[in-house]
Symmetry: C2
Subunit: 218 residues, 2 copies
């Protein structure tokens, strides 16, 4: 029987690589992208193109987090260029909300796994990108669903959890991920800004990997 | 300083009593009701009236679970009159999705607690109404959020968890809960059907409590 996985696909680099790993592992992919009211709409178009490359069933789910507020990614709060601690681009409980929808969807389509591109090494300080968080979500998933109760819970897979950004870039190149289609910048402009946290992490990773980043920067 | 709690208010009996308990404990309430594409719209009007009675700030959040499907409460699947095991009215991962939004909202408004009216005694066989599920969500909340990381995680409170339906009715009467404003029926008609699982549990509870149910049945 065909193995199915739900993958969370944001349009960024990490979720593209995580999904490519899922595909390599032989899963038939159902990709979910959230239209959560993000100021940056380019992400969604990137996600569409990556889903096409992955030959995934692609589902765009509306889950408007502007109703909740509290983040620079959804509200009119300035995206910072540098900082410490949990940054204002943190969207409260975003991964928990996204994984919850993925869990529901996995239950409906009878998927065996959910792939999420979180990574705890070169990360931005978000609490919901840590290994202990993923473990806690796995435990919740085991208890929350019909599948879990019946003894075959969906597996939460975060294949990038312990990889550095450089390793993620290398893995992506190895799997042929079309990085030119990915979008990492927190801002929305023709070219990536090259200054926000997300751009900086990406540029540094490509540089250290000795690979040319195919996207253009301002 | 004022203690704030987020309470999940569905319009049904249990969430009304759980919220009344939160109020009695001295919390200033922010009630959340989900417009999740439920076929039954009466619930939402009930929730509005109960929020008014609670003097709660009331927020209706759109989180359309029809995008996910898989339940008789959102899809055109027949609501059964009796059955065993996990019934078709189970909405995949619904409480997980609802609690995730509540967690995000609690983080934004700096609430100390989230109240949910789940109950594991006279329940309908939903996996996400069990004590171990609530415990697992608490552990997730401790790890998922800024508040959690900073050492003062929001408390997930389920005051009805170990009460029977009869005890819930009695507690509600004691707190003056306006049961005439609550709506429990899975169907949407002028009067409650009196035949679905939810009506049956409610009718039995009032009968055993020796209290007249103020709503009308067909």
């Amino acid at each position: 029987m065909e193995k199915i996985a739900v993958c969370l696909l944001s349009g960024g680099m990490d979720s593209a690589v995580a999904s490519a790993i899922a595909k390599e592992e032989g899963y038939k992919l159902h990709a979910i992208t959230f239209d959560y009211g993000q100021r940056n709409k380019k992400e969604m178009e990137s996600a569409r193109q990556i889903a096409e490359w992955l030959k995934a069933v692609h589902k765009i789910l509306k889950a408007d987090l502007r109703q909740i507020g509290g983040s620079a990614l959804t509200d009119e709060i300035e995206v910072p260029e540098e900082g410490r601690g949990i940054p204002p681009t943190y969207v409260p409980a975003r991964n928990t909300i996204f994984l919850s929808y993925a869990l529901a969807y996995a239950e409906v389509i009878e998927a065996e796994a959910i792939f999420i591109g979180v990574n705890s090494v070169d990360y931005s300080g978000y609490p919901d990108c840590r290994p202990e968080y993923i473990e806690a979500f796995q435990k919740l998933a085991n208890l929350a669903t019909k599948r879990g109760v019946e003894g075959y819970p969906v597996k939460i897979k975060a294949p990038l959890l312990y990889l550095s950004k450089v390793e993620i870039v290398k893995k992506g190149v190895e799997l042929g991920v079309p990085f030119e289609k990915t979008w990492s910048c927190y801002r929305e402009s023709e070219k990536a800004c090259g200054r926000c946290d997300s751009c900086r992490l990406r540029m540094k990773a490509f540089e250290e990997a000795g690979i040319e980043d195919p996207i253009e920067y301002e």
